[in-house]
Structures are given as C-alpha cells and as structure tokens.
Symmetry: C2
DNA sequence: TTGTAGGCGTTATCAC
DNA sequence: GTGATAACGCCTACAA
C-alpha cells in the first residue's frame, strides 16, 4: 500500500507538503506542488479515507435508511430513481452512500445506532413512513442531521423534508381536464389515512370549486380491484363522470377495466389521469396520462438539504415541494 | 465522544483491557470483563469504526455497483429485492453496504478507483451487464474480490457469479403446460443478444424435443409492441399455438392484447406463461402465470459468495444458479 | 491476567 | 513555503 510517506520520499519533500498538496493548501509553491502531483500519479496514490476520517472525526458517508418490510416505505419503482438522485450529489461531494435497512438484525444494537455511534455516517435520509417521534428524538440526541423524503405526519418536532407537490399536481390535472372540455370530473381513491392522498384530493377540490363544478369523490383503497369496483359503482350511479382522476396509479388499471367492460371508450367517453408510475402507465391499453413525478429530483433535493445541515448545523429546518408536470398519453383526448 | 480510554478510566482498568473485552479475547478474567461491559453499556460506548479500520486496514464495507444510465444494468423492480438480499447478509457480518454508480462523475478518477484505492470498500457486487474484461482486469489488479449478478458473457477470465436458472425455469414451464394438456407451445421473444433469453429458449427447446413436440419459435425484442405484433402474426400463421411462453414479462402484455383482440380467450384457447415481474403479472387482466424468480435469494447468495472471497482470497471462482418456481395465476388453465 | 508503549496514515500546530 | 511533531482512537506485541 502506497502512503503519503512514500510519495514524500519519492518527491523529496516532507509528508506535510504532500498533505498540503492533496488538500489544495494555498501556502505551497506551484513548483513543488507540480512535483508532488507527478509522484502521486506515478505511484498511483490515494489518501486512505479512514486515516483522514480519524483525524477529522468524519466518515464522509451518508446513509439512505429504508424499511424493506414496510410496503409504504419506498415503492420499488421509485426507490431506484430516488437513490439515483441522492447518489449524484453524494459522490459529487466525495462522500459515499450507505444503504441500510431499519430492521436489519444486528447482534446487540439497531443498525441506526450502529451507524451513528460508531461514526459510520454523517447524515441520514429516510422515508417519512418510518419517521416517528421516537426516531426523531434519537437522531436529534445523537446530533445526526437527517432529511425526510415525504412530508412527515404526526410529528411534534420540526424536521427537514422534501416532497412532491401533490396538491398542485392534481390541481393542474383538474384544470387540464376542464380545458380539454371534460365537465364531470371525479376523484377516485381518496385514502384519508395517507397524507399524499389527502393532498391530491385538496388540489382537485381547489380546482373544482374554483371552477364552480361539481365534486364527485370516491373514497377507497389503492388496489386495482378497488379501482375496478368503485368505478363500476360510479358508472351505475346517478352522475356518470366524463373524466376520472385517480389518486394512485394502480387504481387506474382497475378503472380502465371497468370502463371498457361497460362498453365506453377512453378517452372519448371518459378521460383518465393518474399519478406517475411510468412503466404501468405505458404498459396499459390505452397508455395513461399521468401527473409526472420527478423522483430523481426528489432524491437530489433531499441530499442537498442534508448537506446543508451537515455543513452548517445551524441551518433551519425546511420543507421543500417538488413541482409536477402532466405527461399526456392516450387516456385523455386532445380536444373534446 | 466516548472513547476506549473513558471506559478504561471508568472501569479502573487499562485501555487494552477494554479492547480485549470488545474483541472477546480469551485471556481475560470474567470478572473484569463483566465490569468493563457494564461501563461500556453505562457510557453508551461504541468503538470508532475508522480507528479500528485504520489498524486492521479494513473498511468493513461492501459495494453494490450499478449503472443507472444503463437500462440493462438492473431492472427497477428487481433492484430493491436484490439489494435487500445483499443487505441482509452484509449487516449480519457487521459490514456496511455502499451503493455506487459506475458513471458517477468525480473530480479526477472513477468511483470504483476511488472506492477501492482509498480503502473504502473490501468487495464489490455488480451486474454482469457492466462487467467487461477491462473492468475485470482492474478489479483483479487491485485485488478486490467481486461477484457478478448474472452469468457474464464474453469474458476470458473466470469470475464468481450468481444467476437465475433460466433454462430450468422454461423447461419446467414447458412441461407444466404439456401436463395441463396444451399441445402447441410457442416460445415468443428470443433475443439472441441476451444470454438469459437464450437460456430460456434452450430450456423450452429441451422440453419440447424431449416430448417430441413441435418447436414454434418467434424471435423479437422485448417491448409490449413486439409482443403484440408478433403474437398477431402468429395468430394469422399456419400453426396457431394453444400456449405461449414469453421470454420476458413486458412482452406478455402485448401478447394478451393480441389474443383478446382476436376474440380468443385466455387461458381456455391460449395459455400464457411469462417470467417474473410480480407487479405487472398481477395487474394484468387476466393475471399472468409466471416463472417465479427469487431475486432476494439472488442477492443473498451473491453476498455470500463475496464474503467467501473476502474471508479467504484463495477461494475458487464459482457460478451459482438459483432455482425457480412456477406461480400459477389466471393465464393458465388447471386442466384442459 | 493485565498494563505499557508504539504505530496504523493522515492532518494540524508549531517552528523555522 | 516547508518540515518536524503530536495527535485522532484503537489494537497488539511485549513486558510484568
């Protein structure tokens, strides 16, 4: 293993000079600097991250905490993109990204304790679904900066978080449907136990009331069967909508099925807008217009907030909303 | 920060005694050991991982390398489960799991170099799609153990890898269809550029030839449109199959569409078996019978192989195949 | 069985 | 601008 001493010897300088070169110290002549850099390259030297960390008491490491056993924790398709966004910034900062599972069984302690107390990590990003007051207390007590992905609920403390602007998303979706000429727009899939679902409903409500239209609201779960059965009911009901906004992407699969079985056509008779799950939206017949959710950006911004907290612990906690965009596909008509 | 010295002072022993206690040294009286452990707990002490790493020249860290920009690298839905399998073993070994992207831009060097040379990681797990001879050379030169997820292709060197037993999977699927009474079984979606696709075809071939049936093979890409158009062609062709095995899960969505448009019923007229993508298989109407692929196990076994290499660098390279299981859903009939 | 001392590779603090 | 030296927290001979 080639160390700073080897480089120093080879370049005929002291190890401090090599250290200064590595760390871009201003007080060093460009001549020796050049010489040292040359030797560093020749010897293929990289500073040992642990020795450096020991001195500075830093691990140069950030943790993405998940709960694999909790379905709400991170949806499979979203996780990869979120991680990608995080990774981009983390490595730009010359940190490493650790991924850990909240409920991993370790000998004596919890993973989180293990990561935090042994100085293995300097900050944590975690989904709001696993964030409760107890966890917040622990993290704050240990002085580890953290950022929640998703706006937390039922929390007394204030924390930093990043979320999709769900409300604005459905608001835009509703207006977009109205613009196209749809007149009876239903919202299907409100689940009051879920914040994102409520937010999406709020956006829909806003736009509907603002436009003096009638609210058609169907509360239900988020499986394809929920979508199917509730759409069926709606089609037999007093007011048949000519457009449906689905709170959650899976629901829309069942909704489409119900509409097609009733002999109605999409998007002519009934238009559909759902929330982003690109793969499903594009696999369906017809493909589904969605409120596009930029989860890469979600990840990137969460990392950005985290680094602000790491670099300056005095930073105030803040909430950040990522804007959405409507991606037109076959389930909505261009002009009615 | 509480160090080994604080514990030593509190317990009235030397720091070496504390160190010995932590590391379960045999030469220590159970009495002092007890005393020390008590203080460790009271003071809430955890050994600093970097100081320990510096001594042993170990990082206690394993890296999962991906290429987020390469679609073949890891399918979204698979990644999470694979990672879960890896994570399980990694933390059991009291290591951390780093996730890094091959093409992350760092100032001077590649992430991999950065991770390896600065002693940030002790082993690497990576998808076969990004593994080429150049990368193998680099990894071997640096002496980092690594395991490929997926059987590598076009590699002169021998390496350790884990893969799904694709061949056996389609073989079982074919026999299962024959058992149910299907007689003209087609294989749709052979892509000769992909090893897993070829393996799946081989399994189908084996079973068909063994059973003295006729081979119906359609080569095509793996989009839903490929599935749709090629199934349509098949339905207009001389021999209409009464069962289809799809090489890839997305294809089956198009295949189903084509069959339904032709007014035929699934599974009565035509049965379908595809490969695992649980979400898609269950969202479809009808739900799709799949060859179930245990990607958690894939991840777990890759980590196991990696640790064998880390703990004993003399370990021989080996390839490991994970068996599959057929998950019956609506797209195949019970008895024809 | 326990304690002392030296060192892992780096950086910060002094001198020069 | 540069070099010696002492840390950082832990482990491991070696000594007792």
């Amino acid at each position: 293993m080639v160390t700073i001493k080897d480089v120093a010897k080879a370049a005929g300088v002291s190890s401090s000079t090599v250290s200064r070169t590595i760390n871009n110290s201003p007080s060093i002549s460009s001549k020796t600097k050049e010489k040292v850099i040359k030797e560093i390259k020749r010897l293929n030297f990289s500073p040992n991250s642990m020795a450096k960390g020991l001195i500075n008491n830093k691990s140069y490491t950030v943790t993405l905490l998940v709960d694999v056993d909790d379905e709400k924790s991170f949806q499979n398709p979203f996780f990869y993109e979120i991680m990608h966004g995080i990774e981009r910034l983390v490595y730009k900062k010359e940190f490493s990204l650790i991924v850990a599972n909240l409920n991993t069984t370790m000998k004596k302690q919890s993973v989180l304790e293990w990561l935090v107390k042994a100085k293995r990590t300097e900050g944590v990003i975690l989904p709001s679904s696993i964030l409760n007051s107890k966890l917040v207390d622990e993290l704050k007590k240990d002085g580890v900066p953290f950022v929640s992905i998703g706006e937390p609920t039922n929390l007394k403390e204030s924390v930093s978080w990043v979320d999709i602007d769900n409300k604005k998303g459905t608001e835009m979706a509703t207006y977009s449907l109205l613009d196209k000429g749809y007149e009876n727009i239903a919202f299907l899939g409100l689940d009051k136990t879920k914040l994102f679902s409520k937010r999406r409903y709020d956006g829909y409500m806003n736009a509907i009331l603002e436009s003096k239209q009638e609210v058609i609201n169907v509360e239900c779960g988020n499986s394809k069967d929920d979508g199917y059965h509730n759409m069926k009911k709606l089609l037999n009901g007093p007011v048949i909508p000519d457009a449906v906004i689905c709170a959650d992407n899976i629901i829309s699969i069942g909704v489409i099925r119900a509409i097609q079985e009733a002999g109605l056509s999409i998007p002519e008779d009934i238009g559909i807008i759902s929330f982003d799950n690109q793969q499903i939206a594009e696999l369906s017949y017809p493909t589904i217009t969605t409120v596009n959710v930029d989860v890469y950006e979600l990840g990137y911004q969460s990392a950005k907030l985290l680094f602000e907290l790491i670099e300056n612990p005095q930073t105030r906690y803040q909430g950040l909303l990522i804007s959405t965009k409507i991606e037109e596909r076959e389930s909505t008509i261009k002009n009615k």
